[in-house]
Symmetry: C2
Subunit: 406 residues, 2 copies
DNA sequence: GCATGTTAATATGGGATTTAGAATAAGTGG
DNA sequence: CCACTTATTCTAAATCCCATATTAACATGC
């Protein structure tokens, strides 16, 4: 039994406070009368809850609304400046820190270059100074920072915020990032893998609002996913759910870095495309990538495709096809309402997206395929930074009973 | 927002009552003092809750325990005869009805033959009379029946208890089974697909006790699964989660009944094995199945394998291998703590199970493969009947906050 | 401009439940 | 027989919600 929650007046209070707070957050300017109407709570209860929330600074009265035949209602909204949230997107070569207000607006962000050889201590220090820079710029007191969310490359232990062996970070093994950052900054830190952050971000700020079953698939150098079921982030038993890069699509496919054969990541990821391009050229294919044969990059490949390079286009199309089949598998297993695709390959190549979408719809079990929507990520290039921030919002707004996005 | 739960004294009461009830259920004979200790509730609260539960007949005092240095504790248990539950396993050719007491013991069961051409009305009537037979035999008043759980073949709508188009049931389309049965019997009915029932049964009565993330895979004529995540049954957006029979394993595989190519069900199900056996014999393979060429059954194939028939053994081994690869995919996507395999192929062929187990462990992403346990079903041949009953137990024992199996 | 009705918000008293702490009951061990 | 421990019951106080009455502010029609 994870955590026994007993019923007492405190629980009631928490339940109702968070219910009211979340309603004010979601339904924008709203009167107490409407809150009473929607929740079914007694007016006195609503009044007391709102009084509490106002005294905590979370909610503010913004003036009277229009009358509908009687006394004008006092409208309530979230106070955007009541609390702030730090988002942090950690990659092997870049580090972005952003400051969000309570309604999820990005106020400032800073990008720091990062070398694979940088130590955890150096990175933590850079995040700390980045955070203080942002706070200074926005003139925000650190006391108003509700927490920091970190989107990091997996595999990791989300509960304890420990990075196991992030790719391309030399010497990083079992780094207790959460603990280090909390010590360095003094604010609560929530670490999760990038796929999960992206999923939560989409549910919180994007087209996933109100969606209870959603999967976010990141197609980048590698392939990973974040999964939301029953309106909550699903991490599996060891933060390993969503390793869709390593599902077998092709029984006789090439060997993958994980040791198996025919994994999705081995045939449809950014890395795989680059490898395939090199192989094709060596086999004699003509392509504008030929001069770069020994160090083709994904960006070059995408650029070549934009310019109509046949090899690049074929590779992307095939990538989309394989992705589509994998997505069909995901649909058959999870029967989600929404699948969101993100990552460099999706963002820069409509071809990949459309092919994947088409094949997923064709190949998934028809009843399920009809219902699922498959869309590209809606939060632009900072989707992982927003997702990192959303990790904190989830904790801030969740009560014992209201089931919230992720 | 699905259902707004507000906090009031009634919620408190429900939370604590169900917490105490569930504790008594799980920890067997237990004293109020221990309940207080474990839950952290006040003694008065525990006393009142227990008083309520006793007056409802759900809990009974069974005498004093041994002293540990002070007054002897009065021990509490569930009253097995307080309520009863009907389980019903519906298949195209057979119908089993069983009567379970509150602690999950099967008191009586009846098997009825069923023809594919039987109408829903006939089946409902047979279930009704079956139920009354059982109640008469056990001398149980129908008022004590908490509900009926039905494990049925998918696809179906579990919420409304509607069977869409169950295989091999002629003329069954959108049958509102829940509604029909509730009208016929007067007790609450919970319909779910067989995979889900099996999963819940395993969590409730089998090796899945206390497991929060589990997947039950049924390998029979077809292949399906039931999924438990966060300790709750996961049905997906349209009761379609767990259609693992239709995930693509082999890009260039044979056509499946669903219209795609290389689905697991098309290459590793009972139906597929029978088809493959016929094909192999026609191609000239020698086998003791040859005389039955035009109507080979799965049982014959399994018997042949037991007798050492090379073709049958090879087919089963290949089946296990393919299953193992599919299971590895499931592990990579769900990262469950436990995978349970059931169904005719698993129950009758250790070869299939062991091969599948081995390959799944070899092919899944290593971090996840190390943690997952893969075991055969533990509830014998009535696992689906038990699962059907468990569907009701879930409703009976779940409170607003205690997260229970399924 | 005033009476009437409507909507929003506040104030008051009552009820349900938990909690804390004292009191009681029933043991153990020396 | 006494000191100590454990289990249980009893009583009073606290907290929170709810129902109802009341006040406040506005719209509308005459």
């Amino acid at each position: 039994m994870a955590q026994i929650i007993t019923g007492n007046s405190d629980l009631i209070k928490q339940v109702n406070r968070s219910l009211v707070l979340d309603l004010i957050r979601q339904r924008g300017p709203i009167s107490k009368a409407d809150v009473k109407q929607i929740t079914g709570l007694n007016f006195t209860t609503v009044t007391n809850a709102v009084k509490d929330l106002i005294s905590q600074g979370l909610v503010q009265e913004i003036g009277y609304g229009t009358s509908s035949g009687g006394r004008r209602p006092m409208l309530l909204t979230l106070n955007p400046e009541a609390r702030y949230v730090i988002g942090c997107h950690l990659q092997s070569t870049e580090l972005i820190v952003g400051l969000y207000d309570l309604v999820g607006r990005l106020l400032y962000s800073e990008s720091h270059s990062k070398l694979p050889a940088d130590t955890p201590e150096m990175v933590v220090d850079r995040i700390r100074t980045g955070m203080y820079n942002l706070l200074a710029k926005a003139e925000v007191d650190i006391k108003k920072v509700e927490g920091m969310g970190v989107a990091a490359p997996g595999p990791l232990d989300a509960e304890n915020g420990v990075l196991y062996t992030p790719p391309n970070m030399l010497g990083w093994h079992n780094v207790p990032l959460k603990q280090m950052l909390e010590q360095a900054t003094g604010v609560p830190v929530f670490v999760d893998k990038d796929g999960n952050a992206a999923a939560v971000g989409e549910v919180w700020f994007g087209k996933g609002k109100g969606v209870r079953n959603l999967i976010f698939i990141i197609v980048d150098d590698g392939i990973g996913a974040g999964i939301v079921v029953h309106g909550q982030l699903y991490r599996g038993s060891n933060t390993g759910a969503g390793e869709i890069g390593h599902i077998t699509i092709d029984l006789d496919g090439p060997r993958c870095s994980c040791g198996n054969y025919g994994c999705l990541e081995a045939i449809a990821s950014g890395f795989a495309l680059v490898r395939k391009a090199g192989e094709a050229i060596r086999r004699g294919a003509t392509s504008q990538l030929t001069p770069h044969l020994n160090n083709i990059t994904l960006s070059q490949l995408l650029t070549a495709a934009d310019a109509g390079d046949k090899l690049a286009c074929d590779l992307l199309e095939e990538c989309g096809r394989l992705l589509g089949i994998a997505i069909a598998n995901v649909v058959n297993m999870y029967n989600p309402e929404l699948i969101v695709l993100g990552g460099k390959l999706i963002q820069h190549s409509p071809l990949v997206f459309h092919r994947a979408q088409e094949l997923a719809h064709n190949r998934a079990f028809s009843v399920l395929a009809e219902k699922v929507r498959i869309i590209p990520a809606t939060l632009g290039d900072k989707y992982l930074l927003a997702g990192a921030a959303a990790l904190v919002f989830t904790h801030l707004f969740r009560g014992p009973m209201n089931d919230l996005p992720a």
